[in-house]
């Protein structure tokens, strides 16, 4: 089995999962941009979004066959509720685990540890409330197994396509939002220099909350996309969380377009890499990429700084 035969299939798989990493990575990058800290609990925001979306679609799933309009409606519903849950979780997280520390100006180590605590708390609470088995959407929202088209012999299923297209749409939406709206302007000005921004009348506290919520909305929607493929469970956040973080660092943390590029590149690289090292080492590949990137180019592919790149 030569690499060349598998190349396109690996590429399709990598692009699809990479686009989901990118959506989650944006949350890390945005928060890093304004606060210069890694939001370790972002993975649980993602998990809550996944549960929200999955439970919403399960509740409204028709009993018979699903028509095309219904399936589109359900996906949009799942995305919407997922995003909402993610946003709420991020808001609650900011309020409880970050704001009290920021008020006091705690050392940065304290933030990291508080976030680890929040992560433990949130994931196990989800396990208690939603059960500890993975939760599936019982019916495939669109004929899962149907091949839409093939790229040089690589299968692209309907679901792959939907995930990729939705992720891309979310990424474009966010890019516009950061570069073209007042909120985006606020975020960028806080990212560049929060003291100056505050002097110029920007409500920094509000911007920080909005940034968390924005990242949460994206992660929640991303969580639903991920859950469509891989189900939702209380431990689901950790691995995609670490990978999305890797993606953010890869592209240059704090840099919106960098996160997108990083996500796609990571998705591709880990899939090509596992071909040679074995699928059981998929995560090892991702971690190795992270280490190498940090050593060779610590500021990522596109460089850091939210303010500059967006």
């Amino acid at each position: 089995m030569a690499f060349a035969d598998q190349f396109w299939q690996l590429t399709v798989t990598g692009l699809v999962i990479g686009s989901v990493y990118a959506v989650i990575a944006l949350g890390y990058t945005l928060v890093y941009g304004v606060l210069q800290l890694i939001n370790f609990a972002h993975s649980e925001v993602f998990m809550f979004g996944a549960f929200g979306g999955v439970f919403a679609t399960r509740a409204l799933l028709p009993s018979g066959n699903i028509s095309a309009t219904e399936s589109i409606g359900l996906v949009l519903l799942g995305l919407g509720i997922g995003a909402l849950c993610g946003g709420l979780a991020a808001f609650a997280l900011e309020r409880t685990a970050y704001r009290p520390l920021r008020r006091r100006g705690a050392p940065r180590l304290a933030y990291l540890i508080s976030a680890i605590g929040a992560s433990l708390f949130a994931s196990n609470l989800a396990g208690k409330e939603f059960g500890r088995d993975s939760v599936n959407i019982p019916k495939d929202l669109f004929d899962y197994n149907t091949q839409v088209f093939s790229v040089f012999g690589a299968r692209v299923s309907k679901q792959d396509l939907v995930v990729f297209v939705v992720a891309l749409a979310l990424l474009l939406l966010l890019d516009r939002l950061v570069s073209g709206t007042r909120l985006g302007q606020g975020i960028r000005s806080v990212a560049q220099d929060s003291d100056t921004a505050s002097l110029m009348g920007v409500n920094v506290e509000r911007i920080i909350v909005m940034t968390f919520v924005l990242g949460g909305l994206l992660a929640g929607a991303g969580g639903f996309l991920y859950a469509m493929k891989f189900n939702a469970s209380f431990t689901m956040g950790f691995i995609p969380g670490v990978k999305a973080f890797t993606a953010a660092v890869l592209g240059g943390i704090g840099n919106v377009r960098g996160a997108v590029l990083g996500g796609i590149v990571l998705g591709l690289v880990e899939n090509y890499g596992q071909f040679f090292l074995g699928a059981q080492n998929l995560d090892v590949v991702a971690f190795l990429v992270l280490v190498l990137i940090l050593l060779v180019r610590p500021s990522g592919l596109l460089g850091e700084r939210l303010g500059r790149a967006a």
Partner: protein, 387 residues
């Protein structure tokens, strides 16, 4: 009351250091209101952590048997359950076992559930002559490590593996099999057994392993690229569900099969009914759905556990507990129970509970299940199917 409870949860965080010294003993006195003697049956398994669900399945199986026995009330003693959590990990196995041994009212125990924790725990049970009957630890080596009081009501992976391999090779006529395990102690044991039998049967085998994860797309690409006639996964239902989902999503058309760790309705839920359709499952356990005794078990389980459905290893735990109860007498001691259990012969719902001299079950039937219209249906035992 509730307020005191909640205050206490906070207060205990403060008083923790002191209370450790204060309540190290923790052994409770026996004797109950009805005047009958009270025995405690211990249970050890993962009650927290990633594998908590399997532990809870086992725990509730034990509880069902105990509750039933107490309700019947025809025994010269009453029974109590004491659970000890080992998180399914070896480093907690010994402490969890020691906790049961320290409680002098514990007469025998069901568990440990996981092979790793079993290896850490059994020296303690041996030392205390306490009978331990595992419902689920299937690693073949466990009965050859010199543990004196270890039994299991489940056939080892070696037996299941041989049966499953024969069925794949002769029943389903697979020429090439992709054997994938979850790199766990259980998974590697089972995949090893299957592969050696497949090779004897002249089937081409590809071995691969992947630790539990969520994203099986890359693995699915790899399997499909290898174009096997059949895939056999040695691991648990949560991951098997995701794997099947990924395989079907990528258009895999071959035979898909897995073992007792996946023989659970939750597999169908995790994979989605459409994806799970036609998947084969092997299990060294009888058909718990059609047997009239099993129907009674199903009802008793739900009655005693607030409507929860039995899961993987619940029936085995139930059988193990009932087998222990069957050898209990009013004047039993740990040693006498352990001695009496050597010759136990109890008709359980999964099998006739009866052991060889080293603690393996005598009943070695391996059954094949298939998912049909979203339900697991038994096809028969391998010995019948392969002939």
């Amino acid at each position: 009351m509730h307020l005191r409870r909640s205050v206490s949860t906070v207060a205990v965080l403060v008083a923790g250091a002191l209370s450790l010294a204060a309540c190290g003993g923790g052994s409770s006195s026996s004797g109950s209101s009805s005047g009958k003697k009270e025995f405690t049956i211990g249970f050890q398994g993962p009650l927290s952590g990633d594998n908590a669900q399997l532990g809870i399945n086992g725990q509730l199986g034990v509880k069902t048997a105990i509750d039933e026995a107490n309700k019947k009330g025809n025994l010269p003693f009453t029974l109590k359950l004491k659970s000890s959590d080992d998180i399914g990990k070896p480093e907690q196995g010994a402490t969890a076992a020691q906790r049961l041994v320290d409680d002098s009212s514990v007469i025998a125990m069901v568990g440990p559930m996981f092979s790793g924790a079993t290896k850490a725990a059994e020296p303690t049970f041996s030392d205390a002559s306490m009978l331990s009957v595992s419902p689920s630890a299937t690693n073949p080596t466990l009965t050859s490590l010199g543990f004196k009081t270890f039994y299991r009501v489940i056939a080892t992976d070696a037996i299941q593996g041989a049966g499953a391999a024969d069925y794949l090779a002769k029943g389903l006529k697979a020429k090439t099999v992709y054997s994938l395990d979850d790199k766990s102690e259980y998974g590697t044991g089972l995949s090893g057994a299957i592969e050696s039998q497949l090779k004897t049967d002249g089937v081409a085998v590809t071995h691969d392993g992947i630790p539990p994860t969520k994203d099986y797309t890359a693995q699915a690409d790899k399997i499909i690229a290898a174009k096997p006639d059949a895939l056999y996964y040695s691991g648990y239902y949560a991951e098997f569900g995701l794997l099947v989902k990924a395989l079907k999503g990528k258009g895999f058309k071959g035979i898909i099969a897995s073992g007792d760790g996946s023989n659970d309705d939750k597999f169908t839920a995790a994979a989605g009914a459409a994806n799970a359709e036609g998947v084969y499952l092997t299990c060294p356990c009888g058909d718990a759905n059609t047997d009239p005794k099993a129907a009674a078990f199903l009802k008793a389980y739900q009655d005693n556990n607030a409507g929860a459905k039995p899961g993987t290893y619940s029936p085995e735990s139930y059988d193990a507990t009932n087998a222990i109860i069957s050898v209990l007498k009013a004047d039993s001691t740990r040693a006498s129970v352990a001695a009496a259990f050597k010759t136990v012969d109890y008709p359980g719902i999964t099998k006739q509970v009866k052991f060889t001299s080293n603690g393996e079950t005598e009943d070695k039937g391996v059954f094949i299940y298939q998912v049909k219209s979203g339900k697991r249906v038994v096809l028969g035992s391998t010995t019948d199917l392969v002939k």
